[in-house]
C-alpha cells in the first residue's frame, strides 16, 4: 500500500500528554479525540490536517501514558501514518492494534521538511519526497504487524481467530 501526504514535523520524545491532554480522553468518541490531536503543542493542529497527511518525528514518539486515545486522535485527525526514528513501546502496540501504521526510519527525519509532499510504501518501507525524488529507507513493518493492519486491527484479528 502507498500513502501520500504532506509532512508535519515533530521533535524527539513527543509524549501522549501533548498528543491528547487527559481531559479529552474520557469516553469512546473517536471524532472528539481527533479534534484535540496534538493540542498540547499546537491547539489548532487538528484543523490544519488534510486527510492523508503524514507525521515525521524524532526518537521515542508516543512516550508516557498508555492512553489509546493518543493513536486514535492521530488517526481520527486524518493522519495516515507516523514516521519516527523510534517509538515508545505502548504507543507502538496501540497504534498497530487500532490500525494506524507506524514506520521506523532513522533517515527520513533529517531528509524531509515540514510541508513536503511524500509517498510512503508500506510494503517496501520506502519513503520518497515527491518534489526532489529523494528516497529514504525505513525498517520494514514486521510480518505480525502487517497482519494486524491487513486484518483491520487486533480485535478483528482475534475475531477471525475465535470465529466470532
Amino acid at each position: 500500500m502507498i500513502l501520500r501526504g504532506k509532512v508535519w514535523k515533530f521533535g524527539n520524545d513527543v509524549d501522549t500528554d501533548v498528543i491528547i491532554p487527559v481531559q479529552h480522553t474520557i469516553g469512546t468518541d473517536l471524532e472528539e479525540f481527533g479534534k484535540h490531536c496534538m493540542e498540547g503543542l499546537d491547539p489548532h493542529f487538528a484543523g490544519k490536517v488534510i486527510p492523508g497527511d503524514i507525521m515525521v518525528a524524532g526518537t521515542n514518539f508516543g512516550c508516557g501514558s498508555s492512553r489509546e486515545p493518543a493513536p486514535l486522535a492521530i488517526k481520527a485527525s486524518g493522519i495516515s501514518c507516523v514516521i519516527a526514528k523510534s517509538f515508545a513501546r505502548i504507543f507502538y502496540r496501540n497504534a498497530f492494534n487500532i490500525g494506524l501504521p507506524l514506520i521506523d526510519s532513522a533517515d527520513a527525519w533529517g531528509g524531509v521538511e515540514e510541508g513536503d509532499e511524500i509517498e510512503v510504501n508500506l510494503d517496501s518501507g520506502e519513503i520518497r519526497v515527491v518534489s526532489t525524488a529523494a528516497v529514504f529507507k525505513a525498517n520494514p513493518i514486521p510480518p505480525f504487524m502487517q497482519q494486524l493492519i491487513s486484518d483491520g486491527g487486533l480485535m478483528n484479528h482475534i475475531k477471525r481467530k475465535l470465529n466470532l
Binding site: D13, I26, T59, N94, L164
Partner: protein, 434 residues
C-alpha cells in the same frame, strides 16, 4: 534432537525470560521472540476500561475468559469529577456486574490501582500482569513480569486470557552503597533515568540488583519499578528476597513461584551505581530525564505541592512527609495537597496521627485518586504556575495548563518545599542529625 533440546533447556535466562517462558508452551524464550503469553492478572481503570469494553462489544464478544483474573479500579477521575467521568465509571461498574468480576474496587475500598493491587496481595511473584495503564510496570517490584498496555490490548487480554508479547532484552542495574538520609528510592530511579535518558531502556526489561536494592523496603521498590516506563522500559524487575516474602506474608492471595536470573544470564547492558554520594534529585520540566541534584534547584519558587500518586502515595511516603512537616506550616501562598494512595493507607495515616500533622501544616488531605498527577482534578495548575510533586511525569501540560511547570521530587523534598515556598532540601527545615 535430544542434544539440541538439552542445550536449550540449560540455556541461561534472566528472571523476565524465565517468567515469560513459564507462561508459554515453550521451555525457553529468547529476547526479540514474539510469544503468546498466558496472563495471570489483568487490570483496567476508568480511563482505559470503557474503551476496552467498547472494543469487545464491537466484535460481538460476550464473555471475558475468566472474571477472577480481571481487576477493575476506578482511580483516575474518581470520585467522578464530572458527568463524563461518572458515565465512564458507570460503564465499568455495570460491566463488572454483568461479567461477574468480583475484583471491582468501588469508592470506600479502592485506591490508586498500582498501590492497591500489591497491598491487597493480588499480584504475586512469577505472575504475568498486564494493566491498562503505563505504570502497571510497578508490580515488577514483587518479582512479577508486569507491563502497561492500551485499551485494545486490554480487551484482547480480557477476552482471550493471552496476549502477544515480544520478549524484551534485559538491562541490569546494580546499585551499591548506603544512601544518605533523605535520599530515597525516588532519587535512585530519577538518577538512573537522568543517566540513561527517557528512552535509555526502550523496549527493555530493567533488572535491579545490588546491596542498595536489597536494603530497600517494598515501598521503595514499588516506587522504582513504577518509573521504569519513564526510561522507556517494558518492565522493571526485582528478585524475590526476604523483604518480598515478608511483604507477602498474610497478604498474598495465591501461591507463588520464585524465579531468579541465572548467574550467566545475558544482559544487553550492565550499569553500576554508587548511591552513597547521591543528593535528593529533582526532575525539571518537561521531562522525567531532566534530572539535577536538589542543590541546583533552590531558587525555584512554587505555588503547589502534591504528595501522593502511584509513585509516592504509600504509608512510608506519608510518614517521611509528616516527619518534615511536623510542627511546621506550608509557606504563605503554597497549596499543599496530600493524597494517600489507598483507603487503607488513609486509615493508617489517620491512626498514626499523620493527617493531623498535615492539616496543622495547612495541607489538605484528599480521598485516594490519581487526580492532579494527570491534570484531572483535585489540584490542576493554572497558566504560569509551578508545582513540586512526588508524581512520575512532568510533561508539558501534565498537571494542567500547557504553560504550567512540574518538578518531580521525593516526599521529603516535597514537604520541605511546601514549608519554604521554593524547592528545598529537607535539611533546610530540619537540622541535620536531629
Amino acid at each position: 534432537m535430544s542434544s539440541v533440546s538439552q542445550r536449550w533447556c540449560s540455556m541461561p535466562m534472566t528472571i523476565t525470560e524465565k517468567i515469560l517462558a513459564a507462561h508459554t508452551s515453550k521451555g525457553v524464550v529468547l529476547p526479540g521472540e514474539l510469544i503468546d503469553a498466558r496472563i495471570d492478572v489483568i487490570m483496567g481503570h476508568d480511563l482505559s476500561t470503557p474503551l476496552a469494553i467498547h472494543e469487545m462489544e464491537k466484535i460481538g464478544a460476550k464473555k471475558v475468559f475468566d472474571p477472577e483474573k480481571i481487576i477493575l479500579v476506578p482511580d483516575h477521575f474518581t470520585p467522578s469529577k464530572d458527568v463524563k467521568a461518572a458515565e465512564s465509571c458507570k460503564i465499568m461498574r455495570e460491566f463488572a456486574k454483568r461479567q461477574g468480576i468480583t475484583h471491582y474496587y468501588e469508592l470506600g475500598e479502592m485506591g490508586i490501582a498500582h498501590a492497591l493491587l500489591p497491598e491487597e496481595g493480588l499480584v504475586v511473584p512469577g505472575d504475568v500482569v498486564v494493566g491498562g495503564d503505563s505504570h502497571s510496570c510497578t508490580y515488577g517490584a514483587i518479582g512479577s513480569f508486569a507491563t502497561g498496555i492500551g485499551s485494545t490490548d486490554l480487551a484482547a487480554a480480557m477476552l482471550t486470557g493471552t496476549l502477544w508479547l515480544k520478549v524484551p532484552e534485559s538491562m541490569k542495574l546494580i546499585l551499591r552503597g548506603e544512601a544518605r538520609k533523605w535520599v530515597s528510592a525516588k532519587d535512585l530511579i530519577l538518577h538512573i533515568i537522568g543517566d540513561i535518558g527517557v528512552d535509555g531502556a526502550l523496549y527493555m526489561a530493567m533488572e535491579f540488583a545490588g546491596d542498595a536494592i536489597e536494603r530497600l523496603s517494598m515501598s521503595g521498590r514499588l516506587t522504582m519499578a513504577n518509573m521504569v516506563v519513564e526510561a522507556g522500559a517494558k518492565n522493571g524487575i526485582f528478585a524475590v528476597d526476604k523483604v518480598t516474602e515478608a511483604y507477602l506474608r498474610g497478604r498474598a492471595r495465591r501461591n507463588h513461584t520464585v524465579f531468579q536470573s541465572d548467574p550467566d544470564a545475558r544482559y544487553t547492558d550492565v550499569r553500576e551505581y554508587d548511591v552513597e554520594s547521591l543528593e535528593p534529585m529533582v526532575a525539571f520540566p518537561h521531562s522525567p530525564g531532566n534530572v539535577k541534584p536538589v542543590s541546583e534547584a533552590s531558587d525555584i519558587s512554587i505555588d503547589q505541592v502534591v504528595i501522593g500518586s502511584c509513585t509516592n502515595g504509600r504509608i512510608e511516603d506519608l510518614r517521611v512527609a509528616a516527619e518534615v512537616l511536623q510542627g511546621r506550616k506550608a509557606a504563605p501562598g503554597v497549596r499543599l495537597i496530600i493524597i494517600p494512595a489507598t483507603q487503607d493507607t488513609y486509615s493508617q495515616a489517620m491512626k498514626e496521627g499523620l493527617l493531623e500533622v498535615f492539616l496543622a501544616a495547612k495541607g489538605i488531605v484528599s480521598t485516594p485518586t490519581c487526580g492532579p498527577c494527570v491534570g484531572g482534578h483535585m489540584g490542576v495548575l493554572a497558566k504560569g504556575e509551578s508545582a513540586a510533586s512526588t508524581t512520575n511525569r512532568n510533561f508539558i501540560g501534565r498537571m494542567g495548563h500547557p504553560e504550567s511547570k512540574v518538578y518531580l521530587v521525593n516526599p521529603a523534598v516535597a514537604a520541605a518545599s511546601a514549608v519554604k515556598g521554593r524547592i528545598a532540601h529537607p535539611d533546610e527545615v530540619i537540622s541535620r542529625g536531629k
